[in-house]
């Protein structure tokens, strides 16, 4: 990198008497240790010489028994010193939040929402059916979403891992076929061994795992045909309850967890035809 600013931090000066090992949790930009590029889970000895490729670069490391550290050319602000000022500010301007006085339940009009993180974790595991763009309403107040906090999908292939940022729009996590687009090509679902959904905090490098799942991407028309057959076989099926009474349990068994609104869309298309 032509304009890369190489910063050098010599850690020997702040060494404790006993040698301590550090393990890399995450890295931002390029961080070199003794001439090699730092990777997750790498071990760093306390006498290592660390080079950062930019001012923004950092390595988030852990030391068993000592805690977590951020190795960065920038100095971060201490939270302890701000405790009094923050309390004073809160006393003068108390935090103001909205609290709902009712419980939301699913209806086709209001979309698909996760009331808590647990429902989200329960959905994104096992097999997940993807037959069109699906918007998942995120649990309220559970995630901070800004430049430094985001969702990412890690697609594990047989020859490596592809990381894609999970787009969020109006508080909805969007999962679509673009997840499989790599450099103008569409990955065959069979190539994707598993998908890991993570919530990342770029400042600390901490990644919270939401779930690991297998992506199932059948042809939309194939799913529509199967649902058509299912509908015809269920002579007692009422059109408005078909989605929850028949379609969702069937798709759950055959393909995995599905987004009800997407399936409702397919059923609507069936009706129009």
């Amino acid at each position: 990198m032509r304009n890369a600013l190489f910063l050098f931090v010599l850690l020997v000066s702040c060494l404790p008497a006993i040698s301590q090992s550090y393990f890399v949790v995450s890295v931002k930009d390029s961080v070199m240790v003794d001439g090699r590029l730092l990777q997750k889970r790498d071990k760093i000895e306390s006498d290592a010489k660390i080079h950062f490729s930019s001012k923004e670069a950092f390595a988030y490391v852990m030391s068993p028994g000592k805690g977590y550290y951020i190795l960065s050319p920038k100095k971060m602000k201490s939270r302890v010193a701000r405790e009094f000022v923050l309390s004073l500010k809160e006393a003068l301007l108390p935090p103001d939040d909205f609290y709902a006085t009712s419980v939301r339940t699913f209806s086709e009009e209001e979309g698909f929402s996760f009331p808590t993180v647990y429902e989200m974790q329960a959905f994104f595991r096992g097999k997940v059916l993807l037959v069109g763009e699906a918007a998942f309403k995120l649990p309220p107040d559970a995630f901070v979403l800004d430049e430094a906090h985001y969702f990412s999908f890690e697609l594990e292939l047989s020859d490596g891992v592809i990381i894609k940022r999970g787009p969020v729009k109006d508080g909805n996590l969007i999962v679509s076929d673009s997840l499989r687009y790599i450099g103008g090509h569409v990955l065959d679902p069979a190539v994707i061994k598993s998908v890991r959904l993570l919530y990342r905090d770029q400042t600390t490098g901490v990644a919270q795992q939401i779930g690991v799942f297998q992506l199932v991407c059948p042809d939309r028309q194939l799913v529509a045909d199967e649902l058509q057959q299912l509908y015809q076989s269920q002579s007692n099926a009422r059109p408005h309850s078909f989605l929850h009474d028949h379609a969702m349990p069937y798709l759950q068994t055959c393909y995995g967890n599905a987004h009800p609104l997407v399936i409702a869309g397919i059923i609507e298309e069936m009706g129009n035809q």
Partner: protein, 418 residues
């Protein structure tokens, strides 16, 4: 003004009142809960001392390992209305398979670990219990689990056989301030049991005793907890070598076995008090901020370790002196000169009462701050203000006061009435 011949009587009344106030203070401090309004003074005296003046001694971060199980959940069938297990009733519990794996790790470093506190209530049975039971048995006396006591006195014990203690506190309006050392006169709470096990403390109590005895010293029943460890202490270090308080996800420690060498794995546990709990879902309201339950337990334990539950003679003498000053002020009708501008704000009786209360409130606030700054003990003080105002009101109706205040009128009145 008090007449000279009555002075000794009034001194006697003042001393008696100061002793009464001291008795009230100790009684209120002995209650398992405290008044929510006290939180304001407790919070700001703590913040002033700890954050602004930086008088904030901390325990050694290298002595404790906080393990977070909030990311290790499993779902089991719950019990329906008919009392049967039903797949339509789901309960989220801590994943006991993963907990077993972690306990295996603890067993591997059993001799390195100082003690294990598992702040996870095993209230329901799960398919992985037999596996967990084996690991728990191997840890033996080094492990302490928890039980809960609900409002109706029902004691929920763990379904896993293990040493346990009650992990329940009383609170007004859900605000945590105090941790009782015993509940229902017979159940020792977890901080006390930890203190006994880890520090070899000797606890004595018999029904009817006013105070507990710990290591031969009198102790309050439910000390106000000093928040030595707060959320702001859990931080990411920037200087390698210095130790910081950290919350370790249990999954991270388990996964570390795959890439860490033996020496590094040992460093996790060497000499550590391992505290296992939920840092996300088990949150409690405190004067500072919401804190995880296991941090409250740890702070309560630290309060016992630093002896801040004990009744020190100097502290009692200080309180007595403070209360005597307040009593002297009332009974000798000592008027503090108030700024004229303050008195002139309003002529209403209400405002005059507020102005007259201000100096007592100031003295009480100074007493609570000094008690905390010098003796490291918070006290219930605002409730005393109400007591003082009642005493003052009643005193001004007594013949001794009236005789001193308006001797001539009193004499005339006395003659007429007699």
């Amino acid at each position: 003004m008090i007449r000279p011949k009555n002075k000794w009587i009034v001194w006697g009344i003042s001393i008696f009142n100061a002793l009464l106030m001291l008795a009230f203070s100790l009684y209120w401090l002995n209650l398992p809960y405290t008044f929510g309004d006290e939180a304001f003074l407790i919070k700001w005296s703590s913040l002033l001392k700890k954050s602004l003046l930086q008088i904030d001694p901390k325990p050694n971060p290298e002595e404790v390992l906080f393990v977070d199980v909030s990311g290790n959940k499993a779902v089991i069938d719950g019990v329906d209305e008919f009392g049967d297990k039903s797949p339509y009733n789901r309960i989220v519990i801590t994943d006991r398979e993963q907990l077993s794996q972690f306990f295996s790790l603890l067993n591997r470093y059993r001799h390195e670990v100082r003690f294990v506190l598992c702040d996870v209530l095993f209230a329901e049975s799960s398919p992985a219990d037999s596996l967990l039971q084996v690991k728990v048995d191997s840890l033996g006396d080094k492990l302490l689990g928890v039980s809960h006591l609900n409002k109706s006195g029902k004691h929920t014990r763990p379904v896993i056989r293990m040493p346990y203690a009650v992990s329940t506190y009383n609170a007004t309006q859900g605000l945590f301030l105090k941790y009782p050392l015993m509940l229902s006169d017979s159940l020792k709470t977890l901080p006390l049991v930890m203190y006994e096990k880890l520090n070899g403390a000797r606890f004595e109590y018999q029904k009817g005793w006013l105070f507990y005895q710990i290591n031969g010293r009198r102790s309050l029943h439910a000390p106000i907890i000093d928040f030595k460890l707060r959320q702001s202490d859990f931080k990411v270090g920037q200087t390698m070598g210095e130790a910081n308080f950290a919350v370790w996800p249990m999954g991270t420690i388990l996964e570390s076995q795959e890439f860490m060498d033996e020496e590094s794995m040992r460093a996790f546990f060497k000499g550590k008090l391992v505290v296992i709990g939920d840092f996300v879902n088990d949150m409690h309201r405190t004067p500072f901020e919401k804190l995880p339950g296991l941090v409250l337990l740890y702070n309560a334990y630290l309060t016992l370790v630093s002896g801040e539950n004990a009744l020190s003679s100097w502290w009692l003498a200080f309180l007595f002196a403070g209360y005597l000053l307040l009593s002297y002020r009332i009974f000798f009708d000592l008027q503090v000169i108030k700024p004229a501008w303050l008195v002139k704000v309003s002529r209403s009786k209400f405002w005059q009462a507020v102005v007259n209360t201000a100096d007592e409130l100031t003295i009480l606030t100074v007493i609570t701050f000094l008690s905390y700054f010098i003796f490291h003990r918070h006290i219930n003080i605002l409730i005393l203000l109400i007591y003082l105002k009642i005493v003052e009101y009643l005193w001004k109706k007594t013949p001794v006061y009236l005789q001193g205040k308006m001797p001539q009128m009193f004499k005339r009145k006395h003659r007429v009435t007699s």
